[in-house]
């Protein structure tokens, strides 16, 4: 929020993303640091950054679907799975380059998401949200029960590495640049979507879908679009995941993973792209800590064995979701915005 008396004087200045010189500088420094990261930090941290960037693509998609358009989506991991499977089948069977498989993975996931979004023409409210759980179950069923020559069944699929001009993306740092490029494009696209006509329609539908309909917005189409875009992001993220892990299996895309993505946007803040990125950062760090500390604790509490990481992850992230909903339902980004605007207008209250 700007101090009182400061107004944008044109439409362009009202919708622009970078408002001050310092913001521009901060963005440049941030991008430069990320680009140089493989030379600055150890490969362990690069591996974590890779996971974060892939999660960021998926969480930004979920943010558009849930945070902007207000459609609860508990099937994001299934959409991600559709993308991952599409990319790995295309890459391993037809040998297409990743320049084509990644967008195609996004499109196939978008189609799958759109099917569930289409039900919005008839189904409303909670009923719609709950049909996304059906997406999760149908995805598992399809993978496990279709002939295993199609989708690999319970064995999963091994994915060949991404390749460009004879250069294979196998090392952590080369994959880092692949993920960085795709993530940057997707996040920039998200900023574009949410301040476009579609983004404003999403916000209107989220705030009150009946009122939005009266104002001439096609509510059903907007909801279907929200699922389409959210699933497209999930599909692209899934394709990146397939190239990073080089193996896809149905266990990587469960309801629990969907809830982890929900946790990311809740922590960061609903209705903010930067919030989604912050949420990804925090949740991934928490997951990293649990995955590192868990096995050590498991030695002393032996009866739990390997399940302690899964159990601890669920307790901590479930607790985080509940705590944030009770204490800070608008997320960390909201707190930051309050801080920022009170700094800008100091010493006046508003």
């Amino acid at each position: 929020m700007d101090p009182s008396g400061v107004f944008p004087t044109s439409y362009r200045s009202d919708r622009r993303l970078i408002r001050t010189r310092w913001q521009f500088l901060a963005l440049v420094v941030f991008m430069a640091l990320l680009l140089l990261a493989p030379y600055l930090v150890s490969s362990r941290i690069i591996a974590i950054l890779n996971m974060m960037m892939i999660s960021a693509v998926i969480a930004v998609g979920l943010q558009i679907c849930t945070g902007y358009a207000g459609q609860i989506n508990l099937g994001q991991a299934a959409f991600m799975g559709v993308g991952a499977y599409t990319a790995s089948i295309l890459a391993s069977k037809t040998g297409l380059t990743f320049l084509l498989t990644i967008p195609l993975a996004g499109l196939s996931a978008a189609l799958f998401g759109f099917l569930f979004g289409l039900t919005a023409a008839r189904i409303k409210g909670f009923y719609l949200a709950l049909t996304t759980i059906a997406a999760q179950f149908l995805f598992h069923f399809a993978v496990l029960n279709l002939p295993s020559t199609w989708l690999g069944g319970s064995n999963g699929i091994t994915v060949p590495p991404a390749e460009l001009f004879g250069q294979r993306f196998v090392s952590e740092s080369s994959q880092f640049y692949l993920n960085f490029a795709v993530t940057a494009i997707m996040v920039a696209g998200a900023f574009g979507i949410v301040r476009s006509r579609f983004g404003r329609a999403f916000v209107a539908v989220r705030d009150d879908d009946v009122a939005a309909g009266i104002m001439g917005i096609n509510v059903a189409a907007t909801k279907a679009n929200a699922f389409l875009i959210g699933a497209f992001y999930a599909g692209v993220g899934g394709a990146l995941w397939a190239y990073l892990i080089r193996f896809v299996g149905v266990d990587q895309f469960t309801l629990f993973h969907s809830i982890f993505f929900v946790a990311m946007i809740i922590v960061g803040g609903m209705g903010s792209i930067v919030g989604a990125l912050i949420g990804v950062f925090i949740i991934r760090i928490i997951q990293e800590i649990i995955a590192t500390v868990g096995p050590n604790i498991a030695d002393s509490v032996s009866f739990l064995g390997g399940d302690i990481v899964f159990a601890g992850m669920n307790v901590v992230l479930g607790g985080v979701i509940a705590l944030f909903m009770i204490l800070e339902p608008k997320g960390l980004m909201h707190r930051w915005n309050i801080l920022k605007s009170s700094y800008r207008i100091w010493p006046f209250p508003y």
Partner: protein
């Protein structure tokens, strides 16, 4: 032919079990407008309470069943006090998201406290099936079906005919309006969660009687979800019909279609039926068609 009828009867009884678990969803929704995603977790907590009072504390069944129900009610009350009371006045979206958090929180806690070990569950209902001519009907499901029907009739009488039930219905309609009419939203949500937890525990007893207990049994919550949506989130009586239809469809698919296609289509048939019905009737079979105002 006998097998066919037997499959239909067993399917209908399993469907009634789904209805009982789904009743937990509906009761909480009917009294608080919150859709509880953590219903399957309540079932498994109920199961562990029953296991603890009988197998661990060694109480007789006549003592442990009422005790378990009381304890389960307390757990439901505690969850409501810790998580949901704080959210009255926030959007329904927040409350639903909290139950999503609860889903994984409770799953993790159960795993941390009880571990992944497989435990024997007490035999609450006679193991010997009922023989009707050539047909055999599992006793636990038969008694469970009767309990389900009694509970459905009782609860729908409570919600539709009694004064306190109608108050709770008003809370489900609109929290702010209800509280400005002098209805305690807090009290209503508390009763809802106590009832939901008790129903889940009864569901656990019927489902698990004489079987083994692991944390994976909570998947029954997701098996029951299509029944709740199929019937409509507001209708308790409708659950019986929805449960029977879905149970029979699932049983017939598992027994006759799955051997042909060599898969487990039976596990997703409830979801397919649910999606089909929701496309025709968006609020389920008996859900309220609300008029929305701006």
């Amino acid at each position: 032919m006998v097998y066919f009828i037997n499959d239909i009867i067993t399917g209908a009884l399993i469907g009634l079990l789904y209805s009982l678990v789904a009743m937990g969803f509906v009761v909480i929704y009917r009294a608080s407008k919150v859709f509880n995603f953590a219903q399957g977790e309540l079932v498994i907590i109920g199961g562990f309470i029953v296991w603890f009072t009988t197998m661990q504390a060694g109480l007789s069944l006549w003592l442990s069943i009422p005790l378990s129900l009381v304890l389960a009610g307390l757990v439901g009350y505690a969850i409501e006090r810790i998580f949901l009371t704080k959210l009255i006045g926030e959007s329904v979206f927040s409350m639903v998201m909290v139950t999503v958090g609860l889903l994984i929180l409770l799953r993790g806690l159960v795993l941390l406290v009880f571990g992944p070990a497989v435990r024997p569950f007490p035999i609450i209902f006679p193991l010997k099936p009922l023989f009707l001519g050539d047909m055999l009907i599992p006793m636990n499901l038969l008694i469970g079906g009767i309990i389900t029907i009694v509970a459905a009739v009782g609860l729908s009488w409570f919600f539709n005919r009694t004064r306190s039930g109608l108050r709770m219905t008003a809370v489900a309609e609109d929290h702010v309006v209800a509280s400005s009419m002098g209805i305690s939203v807090k009290g209503s949500i508390a009763v809802a969660w106590v009832l939901g937890a008790i129903l889940s525990t009864i569901g656990a007893m019927i489902f698990l009687s004489g079987k083994s207990l692991t944390f994976l049994a909570s998947d029954i919550g997701f098996a029951a979800l299509p029944v709740a949506l199929f019937a409509g989130l507001e209708s308790i009586g409708g659950l019986i019909l929805a449960g029977i239809i879905i149970g029979i469809a699932q049983s017939l698919t598992t027994n006759y279609l799955d051997p042909l296609i060599g898969g487990s289509l039976g596990s997703v048939v409830p979801y397919i039926i649910m999606l089909a019905i929701l496309l025709i009737r968006p609020t389920g079979l008996f859900g309220w068609r609300t008029i929305e105002r701006v």
